[in-house]
């Protein structure tokens, strides 16, 4: 079954998506936790503005990444369940 899953391109993409989601969620949480805020006098610089935008992205990313990661994991399990070949009945008639 693992071999059939490994040859399924959709499963490979889902695995990549799950890993990327995990990395994105961890990065977003770390960035949000390490946020020190911006102290500026007058007009903020471009660097400070980009830091602010990054904080917005980091605040949005963990929820979406967690959602997508769990969905991708569930999808992999569903495909794995569907990839199982139907077992042949034994001679006594019972399914093995």
């Amino acid at each position: 079954m693992i071999g059939r899953l490994a040859t399924n391109p959709a499963v490979i993409v889902l695995v990549i998506l799950a890993v990327l989601s995990l990395v994105g969620a961890v990065w977003g949480i770390q960035t949000s936790v390490s946020d020190q805020g911006i102290t500026t006098q007058g007009e903020p610089t471009d660097e400070q503005l980009w830091q602010l935008r990054l904080m917005r992205i980091a605040a949005l990313l963990p929820s979406i990444a967690t959602f997508v990661g769990v969905a991708a994991l569930l999808g992999i399990l569903v495909i794995a369940s569907a990839s199982r070949r139907p077992t042949a009945p034994s001679r006594s008639g019972a399914l093995t």
Binding site: N8, P9, L14, I57, I79
Partner: protein, 197 residues
């Protein structure tokens, strides 16, 4: 049963297949008699009347009669298998395209949701000002961006995952399906898979 039936040989039929045949009394004369004997009367189907025959007669117009068109095509073209491959290839893409239309539409909707959500989110970030929105348009844009963009991105990503699962399931079902026997595959068509994924 009757004496005549056991002793007499009917000259109209082959004596080898008649009761009482021993093989010794067969002569060339009896065979000639059998050959020249009149055939038994057979009820013939009466000829249809002229009005019916005119309706039964095939039309000579190739456009109205597909049999004439097919026979003319067969006479004009050789028996190369590539000649017939076009007949088969015409119908298949239409059915597959019809079956895959919802599949492609779902991919398109998912990708559009992700793209629109990301664009809205980026527009909201780009127009962000440290001291608040400078005009009414920026205020509307940022409000829409913060409220709609996350949901669009989330639903679009979920749609992409679902479509990937759908694609994987189609492939898994094609792999898990029992393969037909070699003989059956050979009968269907050489070189053509019996089942399309």
């Amino acid at each position: 049963m009757s004496e005549g039936a056991t002793t007499g040989i009917d000259p109209r039929f082959d004596p080898r297949f008649q009761r009482g045949y021993t093989g010794h009394e067969v002569s060339e004369a009896s065979r000639a008699d059998a050959a020249s004997a009149p055939l038994p009367a057979v009820a013939r189907v009466p000829e249809p009347p002229e009005s019916v025959r005119s309706r039964m007669a095939p039309s000579r117009d190739p456009a109205a009669d597909p049999a004439i068109e097919i026979s003319a095509r067969a006479a004009g073209v050789d028996d190369d298998p590539e000649t017939f491959s076009g007949w088969i290839a015409e119908a298949e893409p239409a059915s597959e395209a019809g079956a895959d239309a919802p599949f492609r539409a779902a991919w398109a909707v998912s990708a559009a949701a992700v793209a629109i959500g990301a664009a809205l989110f980026w527009a909201g970030i780009s127009s962000f000002d440290y001291f608040g929105p400078s005009n009414e348009a920026d205020r509307v844009l940022q409000t829409v961006s913060w409220s709609v963009a996350p949901s669009l991105i989330e639903v679009g990503c979920l749609g992409v995952v679902v479509m990937l699962v759908w694609t994987g399931l189609r492939r898994a079902r094609a792999q898990a399906a029992p393969r037909p026997a070699r003989g059956a595959e050979a009968v269907v068509a050489p070189g053509v898979p019996a089942e399309r994924a």
